[in-house]
Amino acid sequence: MSLNFSSPLFLFGLLGISIPILIHLLTRRQQKHVLFSAVYLLFQSQKRSVKKSNPNRLLLLFLRCLSIALFSLALANPFFSMGNSEAFRSSSPGSYVFIVDDSFSMRTEVKEKNLFELATQFLSKLLDQIPEGSEFSLVLASSPAQVSQGWMAQKDGFFKLVQNQKPSFQTTDIGNALDSAVGLLKTSNNKEKEIILLTDLDNNGWDKEVISEIETLTNTPLKIYNFSSLTTSGNKIAVENVQSHQEFLSRSRILKIKAQIKNYSNENQRVPISLILDKKSVKEHLVNIQAGQTFTQEFSLPIRKGDPIKGEIRAGKDTLPTDSKRYFSHHPNQNIKVLVVDGDPGTISHQSESFYLERALNPFSVSLSHIDPTVTTLAELPLRKLSDFAVVILANVRELPVNFELELESFVLNGGSLIFGMGDQINARYYNQRLGNLLPVTLETVQNQETTHLLFKNNKHPVMEAFSPKAIDEMKEIPFRSIYTIQARDEKNFKVANWFSNQNPAVLETDFGKGKIILFLSSLDREWNDFPIQPTFLPWIQRWTQYAARGLKNVSHQNLLVGEIFNQRMEKGLWAIQAPGGIFHLVKSNEGQIRFNKNDIPGVYTVFELPENYTKENISRLPLGSEPVGTYTINVDTKESSSQKISEETIKSYLPNLKVSIKKPELDGTKSPTSEGVLLATPLFLLVAGILLLEGWMVRRE
């Protein structure tokens, strides 16, 4: 039990006691000496005066001094603490590990501050009480928990370090934080050891499995300061998920945005849900969400042609605004224009080389596959403008029109892609002689003695990644009656994406200029195989087409959580990622992938492809020639949103070796007299008022 003062500066007011004393001394009349006859009568009178409690100057002086002293004490806001302030009872130096929960739930607002700011403020206060000569360290408890500062003994430096901390957008990871703290304490030589945890006691941060593996130090005190006790209301609303997609099977360009909002409170909530684009509220719905229930709200939005859409969904207002909004981005799919050159058109449509191909590429509408095929014959080919197309599929084309191969070379060099399909019309000699620049191989012969099958050695090819094992098994069963055998050309690089079971390549791919060339060594109709009538043909040919057009994996499809790594297959070059704050990060492609892990702030991240001539090691602004590739979103993990608290008993059961105690932090203006101590200001003010009344009465009597 101790007496503490919230505003000890006011104790200087005690010096004010000197004022009445000075006045008393200055105004005291000089004593005179008088020879008098009836002194014994004066004695008697004086005795009677005292009996009648006549005002006494000294008593008045005492009362005035007392009232000033009590007034100063009252202003200093004294309170009797029942032991909470004895945070550091020992005066000998010790080792103290401060674990500060910097998860985003600590962003819960209390008046004008958030819990994290209160926690750092409180930590600074605790720091003052630590005996001199102690050492202390700081562990941040948001996932992944990390030692922010190892042992140090300079209070000032530590104080600044604490003040500079900001809460993260991560979830809580108390278990690993405790593990780190115990690890730190093991390296300390002091006798006094203590772990001080400043948290909101959210249940999700206490992973029993992690905690059970901690080798705790026996009888080490773990003081937990529960900052959620400072909040008036818990988290109410969180946007758990936002998905955007274009309408399927229709030609309308409508974007559907589906948001899931959960009511974490125990009461039904009436919540406004807003769709915000470019910081403007576009649509708003007021919905009722039952206690503990999740509500799905759908927004429809017309898509403007090709423009990427970045926005957020906001739901209601509560003490934790961090999880009351969620970002999304959407890139309307660009239709891949494909020119299918039918090398063997038939009078009956289904006998045409392009029949299956056209239907596989675009079974119902453009909006489903985003592939827009145009079928042409060889005769029409010179009339076509190749630059209008992303991919050209040459299906069973015998020979190209005169000098058209040069046009194709130019098309591929500038980023177009070519897909060759074989067939009985193929003139191998022509291919080997005239398309030597495009094809990395020479065509040998048609092998049709025995049926062969597709062989999938490497399922990690981007095209094949989407196929389930069952689908692949189905594809393996497809009989291929005829295939072309090939011979590799010297000094030409190519990759075999698929093999046939007879050790012949099935699909080859090679880069040429900015474009890609893919060679399928069987027919794309039913002439040489039954693949076109198999259900797997449709996705197979679509994905190869998208792959060829580099649209296979849209960046904007990635919706990540804070702290997750952005992974993107990017073949070559340099990339820049613009974080929500506007800061650019330079990312290099490594082994065909880019990885970016500084996804610490929720928001929409934009990926840019930098020009090839960019050679700097860092980036502050986008160079000329940079092209936006796509966007991805980073959002908070709403498992942190639940305001369910862990109980003291549970913590003690998790950590039986530690001396666990949970306290409410004593902060200015947030003290509760009942639990933290007895406030004395009001009684003191009343006492002062009483004394002043008494003094006034005595003076009046005089």
Binding site: A38, L41, L42, S45
Partner: protein
């Protein structure tokens, strides 16, 4: 140089003459009062007739009246005797009080003039008068004489007073009661500022011996009103310890206390048939004496 004997101290002599002048001024201006004997008997001056009763002297029967009225009346005469008076003057320290507010004399000066005036008055009426000075004991005693030259003795006695010591009226009165002759007069001049206030018994004793007692209670206005201000250390003129206080704090109580004392004396005097005269030193002595003589006269008549 040989020291001048006290009796011939020029200051004393000057004081004596001053006293004499004061006394003469005081008394001559007043009516020439006579002290009539209260003891009736065969004297020079006829007082009244009284029916004869056996035992009365026959020679006192007024035969002329008996012849005319056939009744025996006895002539009564007022005894016109010389009064023997002793003035008892308090010469204790408290009588030396002199106000710091004015340059007036002390109480003892006032009392001195009063006694001188009384002495002159008495001697002028051929009464015998003596003077006893006391504090806690009798300091000086001048036996009563009616000779005119006796004035000098008394004035000398008055001039040599130095007020000091503690007042013990009780003891002094008790001692005197036996020495004083009956049917004489005792004039007690004092401030009666003494802690033992029980002079009731002593006065009663005096009265029982047939003594005519007059109390002159002399007080300075300061002693009645306590006009001092500010923190003051009061040093006693007698043997009381000094006291430091702010008189404002106790003025009311003090005034009450002194008034109680005056009232007490007055009541005691009235009860014993004693004349009590409160003399404030701010009032002139002539006024005080004339007031007293008038009062005295009316008292005798009644």
């Amino acid at each position: 140089m040989e020291e001048t004997p006290p009796n011939y101290d020029p200051q004393v002599l000057a004081r004596i003459s001053s006293l004499k002048i004061t006394a003469m001024n005081l008394v001559d201006g007043l009516l020439t009062g006579q002290h009539r004997s209260r003891h009736k008997g065969s004297s020079v001056e006829f007082a009244e007739y009284k029916d004869y009763s056996p035992g009365d002297e026959i020679r006192h029967i007024d035969w002329k009246v008996a012849g005319k009225t056939d009744k025996y009346h006895v002539k009564q005469f007022e005894q016109s005797t010389n009064l023997k008076c002793t003035i008892l003057l308090d010469a204790s320290g408290s009588m030396a009080y002199q106000s710091p507010f004015d340059n007036g004399g002390s109480k003892i000066d006032y009392a001195r003039n009063l006694v001188a005036g009384l002495t002159y008055l008495f001697l002028k009426q051929f009464d015998a008068i003596g003077l006893t000075l006391f504090n806690d004991q009798i300091i000086e005693h001048i036996p009563p004489r009616s000779k005119a030259s006796h004035l000098q003795h008394i004035l000398h006695g008055l001039s040599t007073i130095s007020a000091e010591g503690v007042t013990r009226i009780d003891d002094v009165l008790a001692g005197l009661a036996e020495r004083l002759q009956g049917r004489s007069m005792l004039i007690l001049v004092s401030d009666f500022l003494t802690r033992d206030q029980d002079i009731h018994k002593s006065l009663k004793l005096l009265r029982s011996r047939g003594l005519e007692v007059i109390l002159f209670h002399i007080l300075h206005p300061d002693e009645i009103n306590l006009p001092f201000e500010g923190d003051t250390v009061f040093e006693s003129l007698e043997d009381d310890p000094m006291v430091g206080l702010d008189p404002i704090d106790i003025r009311e109580e003090y005034q009450k206390a002194i008034q109680e004392q005056i009232d007490h004396l007055k009541n005691v005097s009235n009860g014993l048939g004693i004349d009590y005269v409160l003399l404030n030193t701010s009032t002139s002595l002539q006024q005080a004496l004339s007031y007293y003589l008038l009062k005295r006269k009316s008292f005798i008549k009644s």
